[in-house]
């Protein structure tokens, strides 16, 4: 059973842009709006090196990762050849101008994937910001 929950208005997302949706646990979800006002939701994490896809340039039904320019399909979350790898997608629909995501998915999906780390905490293994900690896999 789906439990659709309103995230924002379509107009809250810039055309050819994205917004980040915070989750209680796990990496953010990125919601994208393309040139034809279609809305897509992906884990905000490039399958290549974990770049925040929400910060990339959106075109057609793709987004270019801001870190290394890998092109990820917004519809399937998968990198375009010759790159490989996919990022998890989230069910997403638009109703009366509202963007809806599945609350169940938000709470459970892809919690085992962590954001990349950089800086002194990453290399020296010191206790870093809690959001950088690798989280335990979660059954779906």
């Amino acid at each position: 059973m789906s439990d659709w929950t309103v995230i924002c208005r379509v107009d809250d997302i810039p055309v050819l842009g994205a917004r980040r949706v915070a989750r209680p646990r796990g990496v953010d979800v990125a919601v994208f709006r393309n040139g034809e006002d279609q809305v897509f939701a992906l884990l905000d994490r490039c399958p290549h090196k974990g770049g925040p896809l929400s910060q990339g340039i959106v075109f057609g039904t793709s987004v270019a990762c801001p870190l290394h320019n890998q092109t990820i399909g917004l519809d399937d979350g998968c990198a375009k050849a010759p790159d490989e790898g996919c990022t998890p997608t989230f069910a997403c629909r638009v109703e009366d101008g509202n963007v809806l995501l599945d609350a169940g998915e938000l709470a459970t999906r892809a919690l085992d994937l962590a954001a990349p780390r950089a800086g002194p905490t990453a290399s020296r293994g010191a206790v870093g910001d809690a959001t950088f900690e690798v989280q335990a896999p979660h059954g779906e």
């Binding site: 949706v21 209680p24 034809e36 340039i57 959106v58 075109f59 270019a64 010759p82 800086g119």
Partner: protein, 815 residues
């Protein structure tokens, strides 16, 4: 909907490539039928020479297997020759009576070898060198016979001779012209080639004119008699004296032919728009190309029109040549013979077997002929294609690219010496071996192909030269870098200059207008073209074209540098590198307040706060209270300074003040790429002015200006530009230079590459010789910068979308 019928006549490389391109973009549009005269699927004709030489097998050179035709539902009539095209009924008929109707017809009949019209040409053992059957005949002959004669000392003839020799035959090459490969080499290089081939065991009869072929009683050739009465024995005669476009069928169908089937820029025959022609049989602007890269370009254009996309034009190709005889390095391109109105630079070392000739016309390289050392072939070919002025590098041109400053990572000369395991593309971790393997196994010929299949050179592009060179010696003589002009990206066929020109000439003010006007292929471009278009618009029409934040990289959209973990670095601007206790105190407070993990001094004398979360960016800027450093942008970054005459015991000029003045005059200046300046107070050059886009060095009598320095991927020392007396002149000359770069540079082209393209003389003419022009440039720059907002403190004016900094929260919405 009923599918249209596409019939292709000829099953060669150019034709099948067209079908491949067509299937990629319009897979459902046609029922496709192919007629091929040879009883084989499509194979790589270029690799027949290695097959003859025993280096590869026939199976290995098949490009599209029988299964490929089946999988793509293409009906292949192999071994059937089309003998008639009925243009009224729109039906083709093959020699066995098979008929196929068509809506569109693709003529790819290739070319026929030219056979000398001498008596005895029909004897057994006399063949041309064109297809698998010829190759098999030669391989078989080599097992039974001893003496072979190849008529024709061109590219193909020499490859045939080399192959037969490797198969154990005693081979003589007959060549009527005064030296070998006269279409590709001059006399000196031709004779060097002959010498090294003789050392390998080939014999040559130069200037010999064939009178007739002599046969024995069994009807097989036994020798050749020449016009001067001499004679040589031969059990096998291979004629490789040239090819002719095969237009027999087209002429019968009354299509206009003139040294090939005449086609226009869309590859349609001029006679019948339903009929297309690509490949060696087609004459485009009077040229029938015999190299594979131009043919593939043609295929792309034809496919685009067959798919009814209706955009894309083929405008011709420049070609270069390389011989595929292992161990012999020769390269030629363009007008290598020279001639009237040209100058030549020649380097000749016959003992060492090295010869190089560069042909120059109107200050541009127009031809090159290299023998023995061809590592710079791709570099010269690039210069040729770009038609850039070479006046400023003329004295070093002969020594190749590695001698134009520090070779850095570009490494044009490294390709040949590299081991298979060596990394070529650092961005994507692609080794030389992986590239070579892909080229060989997948039959790649163009840079685009290699990028698509291996990802090499697809990111930062700094290894492009290296990759081109690898293609050149792996794919051999058939690599040529068509098309003449590089498109901005896959969304368009237009190059950067064409886009710039169109925006200016047609007063285009928005990205959608520009895309519509230039018939972009994609609805909203891609991550490559949109930032370029955005820059061209705002630099061409300041204050009129509106900036589009969604067409900027994230660094410019959020006015901070994205880091590998998705956090940002913030660099406040410190004029000329000077700061105060107050500023330092504020920076320290911000570091504490936002728990910023790292504080670092940059190479440009600024303080970098690393690890700022995006949510905090707005407040970090506000709390720091210093102007934006633009250290994230394709814009003016820093003006680095030394302490100068104020403090330094050697200082001749107040470099810190000059740096502050320059920075205040130029900040907020967007440019094709990042721009860095430096001012040194004396020639000791402590600010490292020699490797900056504009470097200023104080001397007793004033200031010296250097331009086009670069400390990036390829380290380049700046070139001396001029000397001026006053600070005001430093501002005006530097500003005018940067404005010219802003107006003429291509997006992501550093000043050094811009200067390489247009030549330093051009820039000098515009700024040093043209007093009014210089002032106008300086004024245009000031006009563009006047009132430009600081993105950190005037967010609305700078069109910063502040929504990006906050996160959405599902729970909050529900409440």
């Amino acid at each position: 909907m009923k599918k249209m019928k596409l019939v292709m006549i000829g099953n060669g490389m150019a034709g099948v490539r067209t079908i491949e391109e067509l299937l990629k973009i319009a897979p459902e549009l046609y029922d496709i039928t192919v007629f091929g005269a040879e009883p084989h699927p499509n194979y790589n004709r270029i690799l027949l020479s290695p097959v003859l030489a025993g280096e590869q097998t026939l199976d290995e050179i098949v490009l599209n297997s029988w299964e490929w035709y089946e999988q793509n539902r293409i009906r292949l009539h192999a071994g059937r020759k089309v003998v008639e095209i009925d243009r009224v009924r729109r039906v083709v008929r093959a020699d066995d009576g098979t008929e196929e109707p068509y809506d569109r017809l693709l003529l790819c009949t290739g070319s026929n070898p030219f056979i000398l019209p001498v008596p005895g040409k029909d004897l057994q053992g006399v063949i041309a060198y064109r297809d698998i059957a010829d190759t098999n005949t030669m391989i078989e002959a080599a097992t039974k016979y001893r003496k072979a004669v190849v008529i024709g000392g061109g590219l193909l003839g020499l490859e045939a001779a080399n192959g037969l020799m490797k198969r154990g035959m005693d081979v003589s090459v007959v060549h009527v012209m005064p030296w070998l490969m006269e279409r590709q080499l001059d006399d000196v290089a031709g004779k060097l080639l002959q010498k090294s081939l003789e050392e390998r065991g080939l014999k040559f009869l130069i200037g010999a004119q064939t009178q007739e072929l002599v046969g024995g009683d069994d009807g097989r050739v036994t020798g050749i008699r020449f016009k001067d009465g001499t004679q040589v024995d031969a059990d096998l005669v291979v004629m490789a004296v040239g090819i002719r476009p095969n237009t027999e069928l087209a002429e019968k169908a009354r299509l206009h032919c003139n040294r090939g089937i005449v086609v226009n820029d869309t590859m349609q025959t001029v006679t019948d728009a339903r009929i297309y022609s690509v490949g060696e049989c087609a004459a485009h602007r009077g040229i029938a190309y015999g190299l594979v890269a131009p043919l593939f370009e043609q295929a792309k254009v034809a496919a685009n029109h067959l798919a009814q996309f209706g955009i894309g034009r083929y405008t011709g190709s420049l070609t270069s040549t390389k011989l595929k005889v292992t161990g012999i390095d020769l390269f030629s391109a363009g007008e290598f013979m020279g001639g009237e109105g040209t100058e030549q630079i020649v380097m000749s070392d016959p003992f060492g077997g090295v010869y190089k000739k560069l042909v120059i016309k109107d200050d541009k390289l127009v031809g090159a002929c290299l023998y023995g050392d061809t590592v710079d072939g791709s570099y010269y070919f690039k210069l040729l294609r770009e038609g850039r002025k070479i006046g400023d590098i003329r004295d070093r041109l002969m020594f190749g690219e590695s001698n134009l400053g520090d070779a850095g990572h570009q490494g044009q000369n490294r390709a040949a010496a590299m081991a298979d395991a060596d990394e070529v593309c650092g961005c994507n971790g692609v080794s030389k071996g992986a590239i070579c393997k892909a080229i060989k196994e997948k039959g790649l010929f163009t840079l685009d192909d290699v990028r698509k299949h291996t990802k090499a050179s697809a990111s930062c592009g700094s290894c492009t030269g290296l990759v081109e060179q690898i293609i050149m010696f792996t794919a051999g003589g058939d690599y040529s870098a068509a098309p003449k002009k590089k498109a901005v990206c896959g969304c368009t066929d237009h190059g950067h200059q064409a886009v710039r020109d169109a925006i200016r000439a047609n007063r285009l003010l928005t990205i959608p207008d520009t895309m519509r006007f230039l018939e972009w292929r994609t609805p909203n471009g891609c991550a490559t073209c949109r930032p370029a278009l955005n820059y061209y618009l705002i630099s061409t029409w300041p204050k009129e074209a509106r900036d589009d934040p969604q067409s900027r990289y994230i660094n410019e959209r959020s006015h901070a540098n994205i880091q590998k973990d998705g956090t940002y670095s913030v660099i406040p601007r410190m004029w000329g590198g000077e700061t105060t206790a107050d500023e330092l105190r504020r920076i320290a407070d911000v570091v504490d307040k936002y728990r910023i993990p790292t504080v670092k001094v940059t190479g440009g004398q600024r303080i970098d706060l690393l690890g700022v979360k995006k949510e905090d960016l707005s407040n970090v800027w506000k709390d720091i209270g210093m102007p934006s450093g633009h250290a994230y942008a394709k814009a003016l970054r820093t003006v680095k300074t030394c302490v100068g005459s104020e403090w330094c015991r050697f200082g001749t000029q107040d470099s810190t003040q000059m740096g502050k003045d320059l920075e205040r005059a130029l900040w907020r200046m967007y440019a094709p790429h990042k721009v860095k300046l430096a001012v040194s107070g004396c020639p000791r050059n402590c600010a490292e002015s020699g490797i900056k886009d504009v470097g200023v060095i104080g001397v007793d009598s004033g200031w010296e200006l250097y331009v086009g320095g670069n400390g990036g991927i390829k380290t380049e020392a700046g070139q001396f530009f001029c000397k001026v007396r006053t600070s005001a002149e430093v501002l005006e000359y530097s500003g005018a230079f940067l404005q010219l770069y802003r107006e003429e540079g291509w997006y992501l082209e550093r000043t050094v590459h811009y200067l390489q393209r247009v030549g330093l003389d051009h820039v000098k003419a515009r700024i040093l010789d043209d007093h009014e022009g210089r002032q106008a440039l300086w004024e245009r720059l000031q006009f563009s910068l006047d009132g430009e907002p600081d993105p950190w403190f005037e967010q609305r004016e700078a069109l910063v979308d502040t929504r990006q900094f906050s996160k959405l929260d599902a729970a909050a919405q529900e409440a």
